[in-house]
């Protein structure tokens, strides 16, 4: 065996740019963005609607979700089963994504089937049946889905955290798909009215990405260019505001682990500190050897993994440090976390900053190498009001972040004494130790979960 080779240096990355779309308008003013991506045989189509979730009436929140899920349950031209069969015959996948910023209707289909599949897609969006029976079933299925989510401790923790971080009167504080009290009130009539009032071409963008066999603009014009809706009402988006901090323990008697969320109100991508907080957050809880994961996982073995995440909304957002720990070490993990998140004495280093920049820069070409990746990002940009060259601009901004700026941005957003805490775990064993850590105002709540009958 010969001597080992020295560790190779990394050759500089070549210049890369996010693909630029070709833009066009359909005759009804739907904005079209085409990304021609050779070799991408599965076309990704996203129809982005100007439909923020705060358009839902408060007493029937969830109506947008039920509407979205009922779109492909039959149209005026094809009954329910027939419609789904026609779509699946084309090898197509159909989905709806509803976020606080707006709605997306999504189609994935092999390029050879785009023509017919987009025609069916347009039928579902513009003239769905939204029949009584289908709506009622989706209401029941949504209620069951919420029960399943509440029974999963990680999901229960995220749901409670969201409710605690945003001002409770705002849409952002509640589940995108609606909560049981309001979902249960959704009727077919309400779904029909919601579709009539809010689904329309005004403010809509159609994103098409992939390796096209025919002119995609002509296909889009044929399928969606004549859609009109004189009743369409566009509702301005509601900007969320922070709720007062709180500490909450949701009881899950006998749980072997506790799921922990510690965080607060955050910022959005248009905030001048966005690139700085992205770097800081990666160093604190994004990298494998981030400050948090290096200690809590690699040194202590307390967790499978701990992360710090920033979730930007169109305006504002939230952030959380999230992890799950076996019950006996939860208090120690929290105590360690509370110390590690302070950066006053230990500001971010230039190595931490350059590692973060290299990571974000390096993963971009791959992330955006597929039709799905490009269309997803383009839709995110449309919903957040960002320019077409946002990815390139944000990478350039990242490269100019200094350790001082990253530390300063972090300190202005992450205030260790003002964070909201949510723990889902065994209250009997956890409440006192957590209070002893300084969370004297800890509220203990019975499990939000179902009661088995």
């Amino acid at each position: 065996m010969r001597d080992f080779l020295p560790r190779p240096a990394i050759a500089p990355a070549v210049v890369w740019a996010f693909p630029a779309p070709q833009r066009a308008q359909l005759s009804n003013d739907i904005e079209v963005m085409i990304f021609d991506l050779p070799g991408q045989h599965v076309i990704s189509a996203h129809l982005v609607l100007d439909l923020p979730l705060n358009a839902e009436p408060r007493d029937i929140e969830g109506v947008a979700t039920i509407c979205g899920r009922t779109l492909d349950e039959g149209t005026l031209r094809h009954n329910g089963e027939e419609f789904a069969e026609l779509l699946e015959n084309e090898g197509a996948g159909f989905g709806v994504d509803l976020s606080l910023s707006g709605a997306q209707v999504i189609l994935d289909v092999p390029a050879s089937h785009l023509d017919r599949a987009l025609e069916l897609f347009a039928e579902a969006v513009t003239e769905p049946s939204l029949a009584d029976r289908d709506v009622n079933r989706h209401v029941q299925l949504r209620l069951a889905e919420i029960e399943q989510a509440q029974a999963n401790p990680a999901q229960a923790a995220s749901i409670a955290f969201r409710a605690a971080v945003f001002e409770e009167s705002e849409r952002a504080a509640r589940l995108n798909g609606g909560e049981p009290e309001t979902v249960g009130q959704v009727t077919a009539e309400a779904v029909g009215a919601f579709h009539r009032d809010h689904f329309g071409p005004a403010g809509a963008t159609l994103i098409l990405a992939g390796d096209f066999l025919d002119d995609p603009i002509a296909v889009a014009e044929r399928c969606l260019g004549s859609w009109s809706n004189d009743d369409q009402r566009r509702v301005p988006i509601e900007d969320p505001t922070p709720a007062p901090r709180r500490a909450l323990l949701i009881d899950r008697p006998g749980a072997v682990q506790a799921d922990v969320r510690l965080g607060g109100f955050g910022i959005d991508r248009l905030d001048p500190r966005w690139s700085e907080i992205s770097v800081a957050s990666y160093a604190m809880g994004g990298a494998f050897l981030s400050r948090l994961n290096a200690v809590l996982r690699e040194e202590k073995g307390y967790t499978y993994g701990v992360r710090m995440n920033f979730g930007p909304l169109r305006r504002g957002g939230s952030f959380a440090i999230q992890g799950s720990y076996r019950t006996e070490v939860v208090a120690d993990a929290l105590a360690i976390t509370s110390e590690l998140i302070k950066v006053d004495e230990v500001p971010f280093t230039s190595k931490e900053v350059s590692d973060a920049v290299a990571f974000f820069t390096g993963v971009s070409p791959l992330r955006y190498a597929t039709a799905e990746g490009v269309a997803d990002q383009a839709a995110t940009q449309v919903l957040a009001g960002l320019p077409d060259d946002y990815v390139d601009r944000s990478l350039a901004l990242l490269r100019s972040v200094t350790p001082e700026a990253a530390t300063e941005a972090y300190r202005s957003i992450v205030r260790p004494d003002e964070l909201t805490l949510v723990v889902v775990g065994d209250a009997e064993r956890l409440a006192d130790p957590i209070r002893a850590l300084g969370f004297a105002d800890l509220e203990v709540r019975a499990t939000a979960s179902f009661q088995p009958g």
Partner: protein
């Protein structure tokens, strides 16, 4: 580019070049210059089926130890160095394999190969009791997070036990038991490494912005000096017959809805029987037009969710599953009866031509998606080279699936899916 479309069928022509180093390491290159990135993926032909009695979960624990450093790499630095080169890095363990992979800007290819080679060559030099103990705790947290602390987290284990004998390679889960994880020793790590982590038991795929000659040359620079080892024989399970005696079991826990699960022994992957059955499971339980969804979710509205799928395995047999979760007021026995009836009907009538076409169209989209990214394409190449000995198969999968006809499907169903050939698990809500 790589694909040509004629009629409704996409014909694939991804370039795939193979080269075997003198020490037996198989290297596969598939150049693709769509992005300045490269995917490096190593499949080791070892998984939980290779574990010994009393050491369930060990292959996966070993995977964690692989990130704890080697002669020239400090603990945790494998991932840290790669992330700082712009890489997405991970590894997984399953019944038939352990794979390690990173995708990164092309300029980091040498670093990735050097790191993978260093641990293949010198893992044991850096191994300590402390590192093993730390990762044992991490893996136990993973087990709690993914299995022990979530509703229905024990279903897989219960179905494994129902479907295969306890000493069968597929008779236990990949995550293993807490007791066996606790029992793992440094000596186990040494012997597992020597038996399985040898170049002639691995496939290295390099996919992306690098030409084959270049990829092979670099592979030889970093891995060429390693010595071939003695490959351990694969566990000799042999193909088992379909289940007999309709084994069943019941469990109860704090779950939001009661449920019924069926499981089957199926033939090993890699033949038209398995492929035909894969289409059957798609027709039965994949998507809104599947028979289970149409009948139980949309029709009688007795279920809040249904699914059916295969899990293709290489060691003699594969698994097949289906399940339905009950709406309030519906007993799992009632759902069991309805699901059984649906399957009996599919068995007697066979799928319609349209159902079969639809299942093939869905397969095509899934397969094109899988190959669209260089990282998943590298993984699929490693999979087909390791389990079937031929990575070129990825270009002909759509044609193979398309060639399956209704007679193939009926024959395979008659052999493997008769009503007395399955196991049943009833999952009840624990009384409060």
């Amino acid at each position: 580019m790589w694909g040509m479309t004629s009629g409704a069928l996409t014909r694939l022509g991804y370039p795939i070049v193979e080269h075997t180093l003198e020490n037996g390491l198989r290297v596969i290159s598939s150049p693709d210059h769509i992005a300045p990135s490269v995917a490096v993926n190593i499949w080791y032909d070892v998984g939980s089926r290779d574990e010994e009695q009393g050491r369930t979960g060990f292959a996966h624990l070993f995977e964690h130890v692989m990130f704890q450093g080697s002669a020239h790499v400090a603990s945790g630095q494998h991932i840290a160095l790669l992330q700082a080169a712009g890489a997405v890095v991970n590894a997984t363990t399953w019944f038939d394999r352990t794979n390690y992979f990173e995708t990164l800007p092309t300029g980091g290819l040498d670093l990735a190969l050097w790191l993978e080679a260093d641990r293949m060559a010198t893992l044991l030099d850096a191994l300590t009791q402390e590192n093993l103990d730390n990762q044992r705790e991490v893996v136990k947290e993973e087990k709690r997070q993914r299995y022990d602390n979530v509703p229905y987290g024990d279903v897989m284990e219960l179905l494994n036990t129902l479907t295969f004998p306890p000493d069968h390679p597929y008779g236990h889960t990949t995550i293993g038991s807490m007791e066996d994880l606790d029992a793992a020793t440094l000596e186990d790590v040494h012997s597992f490494f020597r038996r399985h982590y040898v170049p002639n038991n691995a496939v290295l795929s390099i996919v992306g912005d690098v030409e084959p000659e270049d990829a092979f040359e670099r592979a030889d620079i970093y891995f060429g000096y390693l010595q071939a080892g003695t490959k351990s024989p694969k566990p000799d399970a042999g193909p088992l017959e379909p289940l007999v005696g309709t084994p069943r079991t019941e469990t109860s826990d704090k779950v939001p809805a009661e449920a019924v699960y069926f499981s089957w022994r199926l033939p090993a992957r890699g033949g038209s029987d398995f492929d035909a059955l894969d289409l059957v499971f798609s027709i039965l339980g994949h998507g809104q037009t599947s028979r289970l969804y149409k009948q139980l979710v949309r029709g009688t509205e007795h279920a809040e969710g249904t699914s059916a799928s295969t899990m293709g395995l290489i060691g003699g047999n594969s698994f097949g599953f289906s399940y339905a979760r009950a709406r309030d007021g519906i007993s799992p026995e009632q759902l069991e009866e309805e699901m059984a009836e649906l399957i009996a009907q599919l068995l007697s009538d066979g799928p319609t031509e349209e159902e079969l076409r639809r299942a093939k169209a869905q397969f095509e989209r899934h397969w094109l998606h899988e190959l669209a990214r260089i990282d998943s394409r590298a993984d699929v190449l490693g999979e087909y080279a390791t389990l079937h000995g031929d990575p070129q198969l990825i270009n002909s999968r759509i044609a193979e699936i398309t060639a399956i006809d209704n007679d193939d499907v009926r024959r395979a169903m008659q052999e493997w899916l008769r009503p007395d050939q399955r196991a049943t698990l009833i999952y009840r809500q624990e009384a409060s």
